[in-house]
């Protein structure tokens, strides 16, 4: 199970290339920090990895990757549904019985430090709690490849640390994780770093 990037590059309609000649292999049970200055193409590369955008040059090969998850920069939950509802739904969609889904969801919420927020509505969660909930929900769907876009960009340092602390849970439960980030703390929690500055 792996993702191979073969000499890929991307530019938007005649604009200069954001990056090019990017070749690497994303391997299982590793967390990749995708770094680079603003506008270097981090979100674009995530779009390419999820298959929603074709690279201008080069090719992406997926081996054994069927499900790709994406956690966005800003948490986007359903305002008046509880935290556990957010995590239970992907489990039910995977075919689990409700009792099993609820049990698994509670475990996930616990792993992400959200036990006390289990039955609180999404709109009542703090920024850090909401972002951690999105991570828990993202991996509840059991993606083979999880893409996380700037998970701590909108958070203060203390709250961002609570999110970084959850990255361990991501590594345990997901095959390949790619996190686009500016934060040094997040970068340090990752096993590998992809610096897009090298590919401009």
């Amino acid at each position: 199970m792996q993702v191979k990037l073969d000499n890929i590059g991307h530019s938007f309609s005649g604009q200069p290339f954001l990056f090019r000649h990017l070749s690497l292999t994303l391997e299982p049970h590793r967390v990749y920090a995708l770094v680079g200055p603003s506008g270097s193409g981090k979100s674009t590369l995530l779009s390419i990895l999820t298959g929603w955008l074709d690279p201008t040059e080069g090719a992406v090969e997926y081996e054994g990757i069927n499900r790709v998850g994406w956690v966005f920069q800003n948490p986007h939950g359903v305002a008046h549904r509880s935290a556990i509802d957010h995590v239970v739904l992907p489990l039910l969609a995977r075919g689990l019985f409700r009792s099993d889904a609820v049990h698994r969801a509670k475990q996930l919420l616990n792993d992400f430090g959200l036990s006390s927020a289990t039955y609180r509505e999404f709109c009542e969660l703090s920024g850090g709690e909401a972002q951690r909930l999105m991570l828990a929900r993202g991996i509840a769907a059991r993606p083979h490849l999880l893409l996380v876009d700037e998970p701590t960009a909108q958070l203060d340092i203390q709250t961002a640390q609570t999110v970084d602390a959850c990255l361990g849970a991501l590594i345990q439960r997901t095959t390949i994780v790619v996190i686009a980030t500016h934060a040094t703390s997040t970068r340090e929690a990752c096993s590998d770093i992809i610096n897009l500055e090298k590919y401009t």
Partner: protein
């Protein structure tokens, strides 16, 4: 898939489906479209009743001494003929002892003609007086009427208002006789008016040896409202006849907008593994329940409006209201399907940026 129904229920209870918004919008556009159409139909229907009740839809053929009373009476058995009967003017008016200087015009009529005059019948054998005569003489059904020639029983009365209908019957008496006689005129009260009304009337005129050249005059009891009823054209050309199409389109738009407003949530749910068919069912359940609630409110409002408007033609009005309601109902569901079809997990990033 029971989780889909449960998810729908939770979305309704939590307000995620915007149930209040959907119910209010649905009730508003359905009720407005229904009421506007019902008002216009009511105006046209009132016009039709006025036309019919004033005698404009009562057609006559005149051929003195040649109208077959039996044939004329039998016309009432045909579809859309309400009543038919023959009349003949009596040369000698009735003279009462009470008002000897106020002779009462009298007509002999076939039995069927009593239906045309819409008489109030006491069941006793006698003659029928116009309500003007009855009130002038101070008599009513069942009273004896003292005439110079003897005593007659008042069998009933009829109303003949001055609304443009043919004069001569507002101060008159009708004397029923067996239909097996010859009369001067045949009157046919019809609704709706059959296209072949003149041909039917012509059948009542006895033509020896099939002589079609016999002079016959055709007319209406009341000609002031026109010789043809234009209500059907008005009904079929009224602007609001498109009310069901209007509610269908508004329903579709409403359905699409409601789903589109939740595009980020729905695409996100698809992204974490919920299939499109499961999501569509969930939305159909959510919107379907809201529409059932909305429909109950609309039906209650319609019931009040229809009962208040025109209780005598409730079937037609209910049919109009039901058509508008059903089009709105299925319009929203159709809009839900269309809107849902446009939501793709692949567009999640775009929805996210555009929010």
């Amino acid at each position: 898939m029971s989780w889909v129904a449960l998810e729908a229920k939770e979305n309704l209870v939590s307000g995620t489906s915007k149930p209040l918004h959907l119910v209010m919008m649905f009730v508003a556009f359905t009720v407005i479209a229904t009421i506007v159409d019902l008002m216009i139909v009511q105006d046209i229907t009132n016009e039709a009743y006025k036309y019919r009740d004033s005698g404009a839809s009562t057609f006559t053929v005149t051929s003195p001494g040649r109208v077959n009373g039996e044939v004329c009476d039998q016309l009432s058995k045909l579809p859309s003929i309400i009543a038919s009967g023959a009349i003949r003017i009596e040369e000698e008016p009735l003279e009462t002892i009470v008002l000897p200087r106020g002779p009462i015009a009298s007509y002999v009529v076939s039995e069927g003609a009593l239906g045309v005059f819409d008489v109030e019948d006491s069941g006793q054998v006698g003659l029928f007086l116009s309500s003007t005569v009855a009130s002038t003489l101070g008599v009513s059904s069942g009273y004896p009427l003292l005439l110079k020639t003897g005593t007659a029983q008042v069998q009933g009365t009829y109303h003949w208002p001055s609304d443009g209908r043919r004069p001569g019957f507002d101060y008159a008496a009708l004397i029923p006789i067996p239909s097996q006689s010859l009369f001067d005129e045949c009157w046919v009260k019809a609704w709706p008016i059959p296209e072949n009304i003149q041909i039917l009337l012509r059948l009542t005129v006895n033509a020896p040896n099939g002589d079609m050249q016999i002079k016959t005059d055709y007319s209406q009891v009341n000609t002031t409202l026109g010789t043809q009823f234009t209500g059907y054209t008005k009904l079929h050309q009224r602007v609001t006849q498109h009310a069901p199409s209007f509610t269908l389109i508004l329903g579709i738009i409403n359905g699409i907008v409601l789903v589109w407003a939740r595009r980020l949530e729905l695409a996100s749910v698809q992204h974490v593994g919920v299939s499109w068919p499961a999501q569509l069912w969930q939305l159909i359940i959510e919107h379907g329940i809201c529409l059932l609630v909305g429909s109950s409110i609309v039906l209650a409002i319609d019931a009040v409006v229809i009962n208040h408007l025109l209780p005598m033609d409730m079937d037609t009005l209910w049919e109009i209201a039901a058509r508008v309601l059903l089009c709105g109902f299925f319009g929203v569901l159709l809009g839900t399907v269309i809107g849902s079809h446009r939501i793709k997990a692949n567009n999640l990033s775009r929805y996210f940026k555009a929010r």
